[in-house]
Symmetry: C2
Subunit: 372 residues, 2 copies
Amino acid sequence: MRRPPPRRRYEPPLSTTRLPIPLSLKEKDITIVVDAMGGDFAPGVVVQGALEAVTESSGRVSVILVGRQKAIESELAKLAPGGAEAKIAGTLRVVDAGEVIEMNDAPNAALKTKKNSSIAVGLSLHREGKADAFVSAGNTGAVLSASTLMLGRIKGIGRPTIGALFPTARHTPCLLLDAGANVDCRARHLYEFALMGSAYVAAMFGTRHPSVGLLSIGEEDTKGNEVTLEAFKLLKEGPLHFVGNVEGRDILKGAVDVVVCDGFVGNILLKFGESIPSFLKAKFVRYASRGPREKLVALLARAGLRSVMQEMDYQEAGGVPLLGVNGVSIIGHGGSSARAIKNMIFLAEKTVLQNVNGKIQDSLHTSRQGRE
Amino acid sequence: MRRPPPRRRYEPPLSTTRLPIPLSLKEKDITIVVDAMGGDFAPGVVVQGALEAVTESSGRVSVILVGRQKAIESELAKLAPGGAEAKIAGTLRVVDAGEVIEMNDAPNAALKTKKNSSIAVGLSLHREGKADAFVSAGNTGAVLSASTLMLGRIKGIGRPTIGALFPTARHTPCLLLDAGANVDCRARHLYEFALMGSAYVAAMFGTRHPSVGLLSIGEEDTKGNEVTLEAFKLLKEGPLHFVGNVEGRDILKGAVDVVVCDGFVGNILLKFGESIPSFLKAKFVRYASRGPREKLVALLARAGLRSVMQEMDYQEAGGVPLLGVNGVSIIGHGGSSARAIKNMIFLAEKTVLQNVNGKIQDSLHTSRQGRE
């Protein structure tokens, strides 16, 4: 087992640093390394999002932007002239990484050939303890593979997982995992997802004893496919607040805090869910085209609809956590805006501060004790 | 192979018939046998829906209601006093079946112990050619099993399937199958679903060469789980208009006419989709509670939202077709209203008139020829 990266205390200035490191940098500050080349609109929106995050956090968070230095600094120059530059001095630094893993590169092949990619360099900084977390809106498969390889897995976890937050009719979201990291799963992987998801929700949202449901095609214990039927037994015997099988309708209803499924089902559901806002928009546009009365109603409805849709917007949530690795790695949507990048950075900060990994380890310990 | 039930030409009056069979009953009329005991609100709403169907069709469709005769006739008496009764004379008949398979009965066990159930009796009438189609909003598993057992499978079809229509941003819906009939599938089953779905869409919506997508977690040919990767090859070699892998977001987008997946994924998606309207409603209610301005916006938006939501409402579509059996069996939602029952009856009528099964057989023939 690889040791978890130590929490950052003191670090010598990075050789590639251009902006001065201020002496006032406190030990409790959190440093997030951000893949400046990740995402469809990189590096522009990433740099902007990082700048917004450090500005908004007033020095609480510092960011290391990793990627093609010239491109990043050209974006910084555009965004931070004069006073702004001074304001962020020391809280935003740049580390050069000459290669870029493109969105459509085959993850594992790219990681082998592009040793100096922004993803690899960024994760190295995190592993070496120079940063507390890594954030990327780049190639999901590459971030996932590289995080698992470079940070290592938490002892007792067979498969790290990506979670996705679904909005619900209640006040709290529903964490669904796996959302696409593990296509073909065994029962014990689903059990691990439940354990990690439960620890995450408890740590991040303060939910006590989060309820966990196993996604299936009927509430009865006997409903499911081969894998879920076996996972049902494991979950029933485990220490979690397992409520049994849940159905597709229970996610948006918010019937449980955590829903587990394999990454094939989870990824399809995630993308289906993400398509709801544009579907509704198309339908409203068509409705509005029926006549002047409908046009007026649609126009008036727009504000309400936009507000409701906001909750379904991945830009708001920022990214999804990769759970089960020895570190904090946040994976964002390829289409992330500056706002999404900013929110990902704050999500990373909270994940570090809430010690999610420590809580996953505690939960694994409890689970092992129960079996002994 | 069991022969498909002959199209109804002449039939002697059923012994249990109370209302007189009119002499004017034409050969081209369609008779639908309806499970009067099926659904959460049976027999009340079923009888009402059947009455509405025969009334609205002005004699084009006649219905045989199967179930507990007294209960059905008591509902008929409530609904059709005086003139209405005369109006429907002969187009609505009752056949007694003393037993009821409840919604929560185990399908196969119930079919064995309740030989005289409304589902079994109704399907017998269809098999014997006394009706052209069978419609039920009852226990889905029982209707599925009984239809497969009693009507038999179309030669060349390993697994009959249930399809579900999803609304899309385009004008035409997207047919997703399997929607829950077959939990664990092999590649060749997915291939069959594609074949049947394509024939259904062509016959029912007049779509020429319907496009078919394989539901997966990425558009690339190499993305998927073990089963879908194998199905991809079969579909690529087959005669259908196969466009490759599609993702969760492509369903509501209407990227393809037909989407195939196993019944585990399909059922979860179907139920997730069905939960969208009530989720949005809950969100709008919360939005409205923010203040008087929001309340007004929500109030005005209601008409538009209702109109948009209508397309997502299973009551509109009525039921889903069970494809691959030697007959026409339409399965409805347990919560079906009278309107849903009426729409199911019209769906059954259209399925018969469009000769969907004949088109599935043609498609199987083409597929076999391609492989020879």
